[in-house]
């Protein structure tokens, strides 16, 4: 009963606004396929007046029930979209509607395949989305719901309680894997892990401390791709990136965190 009354009240409040909005020229926005109460806020905050469209060719994979809210695996794959619409994937923004820090990372694929695997800290069950911007300025959005017991963003990092990370901060381990693709062309997969606490700043007395930029370059120093992580990326982050072609022999990893510490390594 109470619920009904409240709903009716909300409708009354909305009614004048609806009446004003009705004659506007814009076509009605497509309904959110994930049916999230936060979608309209997300759209306004992240994309303002830019055109936004839901696109099933952007795949976001994550376990529907996440075992560990500190380490939820996400894989973003926009290769189908890039194949169908050349130039449609310049920048990928990964975000979670219900995370206290919504924006998880930005990925500029450059010479890499528009495919990225990594892990995040989630505070509660939420849609995980990838918004892909192309040359046409359109943001195309795909996503999936993840259920979790939560608390991932307000739990202290393991590293913050141990002196170990101070000696190993920024240490990179990684490996190149030669792989065959569906089309028969070779592909080089890069997997790397960086020692970093990735503190969110949401735990009392532990300020935000996280990697802000990560770039892969080839042996000649040419940029291959760039990632700009934010606080919700998991502690000691692991990234999976696919590079087209299998002639890469050496990869340079460089980056920095929000305290100016540098990350430098070669993978071969």
């Amino acid at each position: 009963m109470r619920k009904t009354l409240r709903a009716a009240g909300a409708l009354l409040l909305l009614a004048p606004w609806l009446a004003l909005a009705a004659p506007a020229a814009k076509p009605p926005a497509a309904p959110d396929p994930l049916d999230s109460a936060r979608w309209e806020d997300m759209r306004r905050q992240l994309f303002a007046d830019a055109p936004v469209a839901f696109d099933a060719r952007i795949k976001v994979s994550a376990p529907s029930m996440a075992e560990n809210p500190l380490n939820v695996p996400i894989t973003v794959d926009a290769t189908a979209l890039a194949r169908d619409l050349p130039g449609s994937v310049r920048e990928i923004l990964v975000f979670a509607d219900f995370n206290p820090i919504v924006q998880i990372l930005r990925f500029y694929p450059g010479q890499a395949t528009p495919f990225l695997g990594f892990r995040v800290k989630l505070q509660q069950s939420t849609p995980l989305r990838a918004a892909v911007r192309g040359d046409d300025g359109v943001w195309r959005v795909g996503g999936a719901w993840v259920n979790t017991t939560g608390g991932g963003c307000t739990a202290p990092s393991v590293g913050s309680a141990s002196p170990e990370w101070q000696r190993r901060l920024g240490e990179v381990s990684g490996r190149l894997f030669a792989r065959a693709t569906d089309g028969g062309q070779g592909q080089e997969r890069v997997r790397l892990r960086i020692v970093h606490p990735m503190d969110t700043g949401l735990v009392g007395g532990i300020p935000a401390f996280f990697i802000q930029e990560l770039v892969l370059r080839d042996g000649q120093g040419r940029d291959l791709m760039r990632i700009e992580p934010n606080e919700p990326v998991s502690e000691n982050p692991v990234f999976t990136v696919d590079l087209a072609g299998n002639d890469t022999r050496r990869i340079q990893v460089s980056g920095r965190d929000n305290n100016g510490n540098l990350i430098q390594a070669w993978l071969e």
């Binding site: 376990p63 075992e67 380490n71 695997g117 490996r175 692991v238 999976t240 390594a265 993978l267």
Partner: protein, 334 residues
């Protein structure tokens, strides 16, 4: 389901529907051996498996609001000195109903309660028993003190109000490896590890019944939230040697049917070896974690109860460390 009923001759279909309806409409407590979530009755039915020895076999399922967490095996031995209880179940209600089930069989007092390890389905019934009777390995006591109430909270989320009033009670009495006599039952306590960092195994030398805790699963996929697979496989070797000595007639696994020792040991070892090899191979192939989660299970693994869900959970528990090892072997030089 619908199509099956439609395909039946009309009369049979009607009977099937009536039967279905009757099952749903039956007062919840009336079906023996089946939990009722209306009055929180676990319908515990102790089964005698050897002289003085009773087991309450739980379901090979995950925690649900329907089963109330009755997915675990508990047991008790009625000795001349009193009753010895092995594990207390997932909730206060379970512990209380276990006490009532014991009281229906004997009027002897409970003199000792062992918790085999610090997982919630094995100790959250402790509240129903007198504090001085509770005993566990020191590592288990520490684990219950550290994680006990967080576990209870998590079971509330999974099982609902079956958990009402449940709080973690850590045993005060530490158990050391060695033998203890209860009437004519001489219990040998073995301190091992692998499923958790403290796993208690009890052998009743009078009956040859081995209470293996969660070092053994039978017909159900093992769980791994605190597992160390190398230690666990070593513990299985220890159990196999014990069985080969001829002193074990029956094992009570932590989950699954009571059986002769060979099959639960074989199944648990097979699953753990497969899991370890699969995750190591995946790390060496450069698979991303979601690709590892999507790997298909071979038929013999898929045949175990809840293996799909447990495999996924195990990837979360174990893959990050295995992956780290695989990446570090190649390393990045500054």
């Amino acid at each position: 389901m619908k199509t099956v009923i439609r395909a039946l001759p009309a009369l049979a279909a009607q009977v099937a529907q009536i039967a279905l309806f009757a099952a749903l409409a039956l007062p919840a407590a009336a079906r023996a051996g089946e939990e009722s979530y209306q009055n929180y009755d676990y319908a515990l039915a102790p089964r005698r498996i050897a002289a003085d020895t009773y087991v309450l076999v739980g379901r090979n399922e995950d925690f649900t609001p329907r089963n109330g967490g009755n997915i675990v095996n508990t047991a008790f031995i009625v000795t001349d000195d009193g009753v010895v209880v092995i594990d207390t179940g997932p909730s206060r209600r379970y512990g209380e109903q276990l006490r009532q089930a014991i009281a229906r069989i004997t009027d002897k007092p409970v003199v000792r309660v062992f918790n085999t390890h610090h997982h919630p389905d094995h100790f959250l019934g402790n509240q129903a028993f007198a504090a001085p009777t509770l005993a566990a390995l020191p590592g288990t006591i520490d684990g219950i003190r550290r994680d006990g109430n967080a576990f209870a909270e998590n079971l509330y989320r999974l099982s609902g109000d079956w958990m009402l009033g449940t709080e973690a009670v850590a045993p005060a009495a530490p158990v050391a490896a060695g033998t203890q006599n209860f009437g004519r039952h001489r219990l040998e306590a073995i301190a091992d590890l692998g499923h958790t960092d403290a796993d208690l195994v009890l052998l009743d030398t009078a009956t040859g019944v081995l209470f293996a805790g969660d070092l053994l699963f039978h017909g159900r996929a093992p769980t791994t939230p605190h597992a160390d697979i190398a230690h666990w496989l070593a513990a299985l070797d220890h159990l196999e040697r014990l069985a080969a000595s001829g002193r074990v007639s029956l094992v009570v696994p932590g989950h699954g049917e009571v059986a002769a020792p060979a099959e639960p040991i074989r199944q648990t070892r097979h699953y753990l070896r497969w899991l370890d090899a699969t995750l190591r191979q995946a790390a060496d192939d450069g698979l991303d974690m979601n690709e590892v989660l999507a790997l298909p299970l071979p038929p013999d693994i898929a045949a175990l109860a809840v293996s799909e869900a447990e495999y996924r959970r195990s990837v979360g528990h174990l893959f990050p460390a295995i992956e780290q090892e695989a990446l570090a072997r190649h390393g990045g030089r500054p």
